[in-house]
Every structure is written in C-alpha cells, then in structure tokens.
C-alpha cells in the first residue's frame, strides 16, 4: 500500500517546485490539491502491472521536468541574459579609458 520510491521522489519534487513557484501558501493552490489527489488515487491498484499507474507516473515525471526546467531556464536567463546593456561610461572604464568631457557642452547641444 506504499507508493513506490520513484513516485515518492517525483511527488516531493513537484511539491518543492510548487513551493518555489508560489511561496508560502502553496498548499492552497489548485495544482497542489490536484497532484496530491492524483497520487493518492493511484497508490493502490489491484493489478500487478497497472498501466494507468505507469502512465500517471510518467505524466508526473513529465510535469516535474516541465516545472524544474522552466525554473532553471528562467534563473539562467536572469543571471546571464537579463542585465541589458552597460552604459557608455562603464564600457569605457572596462578598458581603462574615460569618456571625454567638454565643460561648455558640445557645439550643437543647447
């Protein structure tokens, strides 16, 4: 009557992802209730090799992969690709130069 170890791991993984996504009150979310419900329903089966159980396990692994990889992708994006351009002063400073200043303003500027 116990869930197999891999299904337990998948279940915990999904809960972790939901908590990371939604914060503190993840237990009230629709997804949490549905996932818990499904795992409970598929726990007990009369067959030795229950196809519905295997299908549900594969579907849950797929969903876990979706949540985890979306989160990782977003994290990598924010870390590497989200900063935008540096401004001209910083860029010049990176190679040890400084932007020229013209105290009276450039001729064509007002």
């Amino acid at each position: 009557m116990v869930a197999s170890p891999s299904s337990l791991r998948v279940y915990r993984g999904i809960l972790k992802e939901l908590r990371a996504m939604q914060g503190q009150n993840y237990k009230q979310s629709l997804a949490y209730n549905y996932v818990t419900d499904q795992f409970r329903k598929n726990q007990v089966t009369g067959e030795r090799y229950c196809r519905a159980q295997q299908e549900a396990l594969h579907a849950s692994q797929t969903y876990l992969c979706l949540l985890a990889s979306s989160r990782n992708h977003q994290a990598l994006h924010n870390f590497y690709h989200a900063k935008g351009e540096r401004n001209a002063e910083d860029v010049a400073g990176m190679v040890g130069l400084r932007l020229p200043t013209q105290p009276g303003g450039k001729g064509w500027e007002k």
Partner: protein, 285 residues
C-alpha cells in the same frame, strides 16, 4: 458561477448591471493581452481560478475575467488537469508576464485558433516529413567516439520503434539520409490518424523541438522520459561538451529550454488524448 450570475441578471432585467457587465466584457476583449509585444505586460490579476462552463469544458478566470486566446476565442480546455496546469502557469507569473515561458498556454492557443488554418491530414504529413531527416537516422563517420555513442544510444531506440510499429527505418551516414519505404509511412500515418487535433498539435510541436519523429514517438509512448529524449536529441552536443567543456550560459540554457518545451508538448499530448475513470473495488479478505 459567473454564468449563473449572468442568467440571474438577465432574468431580473437589471439593465444597469447588465450593461456594466457587458461593457466590462467588451472592454476586456478589446484590450487583448497579447497585442502589445513591445511593451511589458504587468501582472494585473490576483487570483487564477478555473471554472467549468458549457459542454463540460473548463475555462480559466483571472480575477473575475475569463481568459481568451489571441484570436479572441474563449480559452476552453477539455479536462481539469490541463486547466490546472495552465492556471498554474499564469499563477507563476510575478510582476511581468512572460508569454515565452508559458508553453502550455501557447499550445492551447495554437490548438484553438489554428492560425495556419491546417487540417489534420496536413499536420500528419508535415510531421511525417520529419521522418526523412530524422536525427536518429543520421550517423557520422568520424570522430569514432561519436560514432560509438550514436550506435550505443540511438540503435536501441530504432530497434524499439521498429518492433513496436513493425516498420523498418534504417540509419545511414550518407548526406541523403535513410530511405523510408511507403509501407512505413503508411503505418505511421494510420497510427497518427488516431490522435485528435489537439494531440496532433502537441505532437507536431514536440517533433519540431526534438527534430526527430522516432524520439518523439518514443517519448509519447512512454518508452523514454523527457530528459532521456532531450539527451538523445542533443547527443552530438553532449559529446562535444564532454570533449571541450560546458558553457553554462549557452549549453545549459538551451538544454533547459528544450526540456521545458518538450515536457510541455508531451504533457499536452497526454492530457489531450486520455480520459480517466476511477473504479473502486472492495478488498476481499
């Protein structure tokens, strides 16, 4: 609940509230979320809930307004699981809405709007066209490490699909690729005919992501997991990473994106093509 409220108002002929609700609806359908691509859309709703409407189809509600597709149709989902997954996607957005990260929503929109106006036959033939340039069938001749890797990893999948569908798909190292016989194509055509339109949309998406019909069918038939399918699709890249090193902001970034899209497509196909019932049996002691 929203629909019964509408019926109540209509019955009592409360003109003001009816007008107000209608203008609210009208205003919402005018300000289509997806229209402004250049500016960032901020999250404008607090709660995401699902409700069951007419015909047993599920709808997504953002606060109190119903979610629509970019084509203006109401977003209706065939079952509760898919509705909850889409609602979770919308609920996961913080501050700004990142439409490029909402893969399930995009798939639902495509299935409902059908922007390229294709019917099922066209989709099946487009999907099977990938078979001629299937990743798993294209082999290199050198470096030998990669040749062995391809043989060890891809041959079992080819074996499996040949057994499962009783077809022959060879592998080839020439530039022309393998010769796919007409009987093979017909077998796959018959198999794909059994999928409904939504599942075909998802399946075509997965095939386009993985660049392989064999790997996609392997994953849909639950022979491969998503991670395995993505690994096999990116086999040469993984080989090069082992030789030359991993670049996180390119390799991992691409891998996670491919995993997310493929997982979304696979989940979409599974949820669109199955129904489930719970049969309660009594334990007999």
């Amino acid at each position: 609940m929203f629909r019964s409220l509408a019926r109540l108002h209509h019955q009592f002929g409360n003109a003001l509230s009816l007008c107000k609700r209608r203008t609210n609806h009208h205003h919402f359908s005018c300000s289509l979320k997806y229209s402004s691509v250049a500016t960032e859309r901020k999250r404008f709703y607090q709660d995401v809930t699902i409700s069951q409407g007419e015909g047993g189809l599920f709808e997504i509600n953002l606060d109190r307004r119903k979610l629509k597709t970019p084509g203006g149709k109401l977003l209706t989902l065939p079952n509760e699981a898919l509705a909850i997954a889409v609602a979770t996607e919308w609920d996961a957005q913080r501050d700004s809405l990142k439409f490029y990260a909402m893969h399930l929503t995009t798939l639902c929109n495509t299935a409902l709007d059908n922007p390229t106006q294709r019917n099922e036959d066209q989709m099946i033939s487009a999907a099977l066209k990938f078979l001629e340039t299937d990743t798993v069938c294209y082999r290199v001749e050198e470096p030998y490490g990669l040749v062995d890797l391809q043989k060890n990893e891809w041959d079992p999948v080819l074996q499996w699909i040949e057994n499962r569908y009783d077809v022959t798909i060879g592998s080839s190292s020439s530039i022309m690729g393998p010769d796919i016989s007409q009987t093979t194509k017909d077998t796959f055509y018959q198999h794909l005919k059994s999928y409904n339109f939504w599942s075909l949309t998802g399946l075509e998406y997965v095939i386009a992501q993985l660049k392989s019909v064999v790997l996609s069918l392997g994953m849909i038939d639950r022979y491969l997991s998503v991670e395995q399918a993505v690994l096999l699709s990116r086999l040469e890249e993984e080989y090069q990473i082992q030789c030359w090193g991993n670049v996180e902001w390119a390799h991992d970034y691409d891998m996670y994106e491919l995993r997310a899209r493929t997982a979304a497509g696979a989940l979409f196909v599974h949820l669109s093509s199955e129904g489930s019932t719970v049969k309660r049996k009594i334990l007999q002691d």
